[in-house]
């Protein structure tokens, strides 16, 4: 293990304690309805006084069988279900799913569609990190952060609402394109949001970054070493917080991410504080990407024109031409025609890498779909990282992992 990592030694201290101080271990159920477990996660803790000696996460309270649902409907019908995976950043899920199916169909979407997807992914990242940050503030006792970040998030929701028609359940992508083009002037409003957002973000971060109370609750708490982070399959800011510069937007670019310039923030120690810092910096990088994408916003089509068996024809044509009407019926009832084969695609979502493994036997319905959700894998580190910490630190660690149970249980 590299020397720069230090571990909390509370457990060691507890173990070394003289036998007369040894107390009976107590079993404590944290969650599933506990405000700091961010959803329906239950932690079965074994505690010795204030020290956690064992942590057993219990998952599945929000299981809806999304993978099985996917096998029973056409590819496009599943888009609304992807909203409900990581419901803090539904747009990013929509995009990841659409790209996965498009890879299977060997379909290349036009540059305008790619640019829109990049913009919405990054806005979704900002929205997700804002919530993560605000909720983390509450977890460790800083209430005002939440109010400021939610005000910003509301502005983003207004933009999403205008773009997709819904604030929360966006269902915006389709196989081979999008549900609709960006409305007139939307890009300018996004830029205006970015301009006013950065100073506010700085203000919010300034409330925490150099705050002694916040640092006491996060620095050197929940340290995850580089090796552990990789071994447990951590991804996203949690992995980068441990110092591993792994970002799919750089390492396996999709949707034209290679065109944009941005930095990947990494932590040095892997504690809660590093994960927080990474999220803060990532939002600034996202703003950079959004600005570049809008500056070079391409014209042209926003869906694949020549994929007649995949993307439904425009309404104009359905209403005026018999062939297009029939084609529309075929695509809707039989689903977009995807060739037989397998694909695994993962995208860099706000919480980590969201992967879709799709097996198709041809036709409009997947034969099997596996969803690799970042929150689920990120939670796997809990039994390791929580041992030896105080019970109150568990709250801090949970907040810093920024998971969402809709995705972990899917």
């Amino acid at each position: 293990m590299p020397a720069e990592f230090t571990f909390p030694d509370n457990a060691a201290k507890a173990a070394d304690a003289a036998p007369e101080f040894e107390t009976e271990k107590m079993s404590l159920s944290m969650g599933p309805s506990h405000p700091s477990t961010h959803g329906v996660l239950r932690l079965q803790l074994e505690i010795d006084g204030e020290i956690v000696t064992k942590c057993d996460p219990v998952l599945g309270y929000l299981h809806r069988g999304d993978e099985k649902i996917a096998e029973n409907m056409t590819y496009n019908q599943f888009v609304p279900y992807t909203d409900r995976l990581d419901y803090i950043a539904p747009l990013a899920n929509n995009v990841a799913y659409a790209i996965a199916v498009e890879r299977l169909a060997k379909l290349e979407v036009p540059p305008r569609c790619q640019a829109i997807r990049v913009i919405i992914c990054e806005l979704a990242r900002i929205s997700s990190h804002l919530l993560g940050l605000g909720a983390y503030g509450i977890d460790v006792g800083a209430w005002s952060i939440f109010l400021y970040t939610f005000t910003e998030r509301e502005k983003l929701y207004k933009l999403f609402e205008e773009l997709t028609g819904a604030r929360f359940t966006t269902s915006y992508t389709r196989i081979g394109g999008l549900a609709r083009d960006v409305p007139a002037g939307w890009n300018d409003r996004v830029l205006a949001f970015c301009d006013q957002f950065l100073p506010i973000l700085d203000e919010v971060l300034a409330l925490l970054t150099r705050n002694k109370i916040f640092m006491d609750r996060t620095v050197d708490i929940g340290v995850i070493s580089k090796a552990d982070a990789i071994a447990y399959g951590l991804t996203g800011p949690n992995l980068r917080g441990s110092g591993v510069p792994f970002d799919l937007r750089k390492d396996a670019p999709y949707s034209g991410y290679e065109k944009y310039e941005f930095d990947v923030p990494v932590g040095t120690k892997g504690d809660c504080y590093d994960r927080y810092l990474c999220r803060g910096e990532e939002m600034k990088q996202s703003v950079r990407i959004v600005r570049q994408a809008i500056a070079s916003f391409p014209g042209g089509d926003w869906y694949v024109k020549d994929a007649r068996r995949i993307f439904a024809p425009p309404k104009e044509k359905i209403l005026t031409s018999m062939e297009e009407l029939i084609n529309n019926f075929m695509i809707v009832t039989e689903g977009p025609q995807i060739p037989a084969g397998e694909v695994y695609f993962e995208a860099e979502n706000p919480k980590g890498t969201l992967g879709f493994f799709i097996v198709s036997k041809g036709g409009g319905v997947p034969w099997r779909m596996k969803i690799r959700s970042p929150s689920f894998c990120n939670l796997s580190i809990l039994p390791k990282v929580c041992v030896g910490t105080f019970v109150s630190d568990v709250v801090s660690i949970l907040g810093s992992l920024d998971f969402v149970m809709g995705e972990a249980d899917r």
Binding site: G165, L207, P245, L277, C278
Partner: protein
């Protein structure tokens, strides 16, 4: 590729006293006191709904007062949570829209199932079903939350039509070239 390690500086002596943070926090709070409030006092104040909003699904008439839906049942098929139930029916031959041949006898959308996804509107080949501005639906019983055909048309009203495709068809039929 640029990887930037995030900056971590140890706290200075002054910062360790909590005092600068308290001062900075108070400054931020003071600044925000004098800014306009962002809270919307719902329901006295209502949010502005942008065009293209996906509210409650409704059925619409065309400007000539014809029911646009031809009960093709495509929306019923596509609806992911299966919220729509249609009973297709014929049209009285005396009706001016008799040449359309079909209209729904009953059309029910269960708003307890509907997820406002908008797929019904997207697939409808007649532009007959629209998710409009209505966003708040309440009821005391489950039955109340099922919108029947009459309710759907009440909510939907009349929307402009760019094509009048059935009128064109009728005109073509009268001139002897039905297809």
């Amino acid at each position: 590729m640029a990887v930037i390690p995030v900056e971590r500086k140890p706290l200075s002596l002054a910062e360790r006293t909590y005092l600068p943070q308290i001062a900075a926090g108070l400054k931020t709070t003071l600044k925000h006191i004098f800014q306009p409030t962002v809270t919307l006092e719902y329901p006295e104040q209502r949010p502005t709904i942008p065009p293209g909003y996906r509210g409650v699904p409704t059925l619409v008439f065309d400007p000539h007062g014809r029911e646009k839906c031809v009960s093709c049942q495509l929306c019923e098929f596509v609806c992911p949570p299966k919220a729509i139930r249609i009973t297709p029916g014929g049209i009285d031959p005396a009706d001016p829209a008799a040449h359309v041949e079909k209209r729904p006898q009953e059309f029910e959308i269960d708003m307890l199932r509907c997820i406002y996804c908008g797929l019904c509107q997207e697939v409808c080949p007649e532009e007959a079903i629209f998710l409009q501005n209505q966003y708040s639906m309440t009821g005391y019983t489950r039955a109340e939350m099922v919108n029947n055909k009459q309710k759907l048309y009440e909510l939907g009203g009349t929307l402009p039509d760019a094509h009048f495709k059935w009128d064109k068809k009728k005109a073509a039929e009268e001139h002897g070239n039905a297809h």
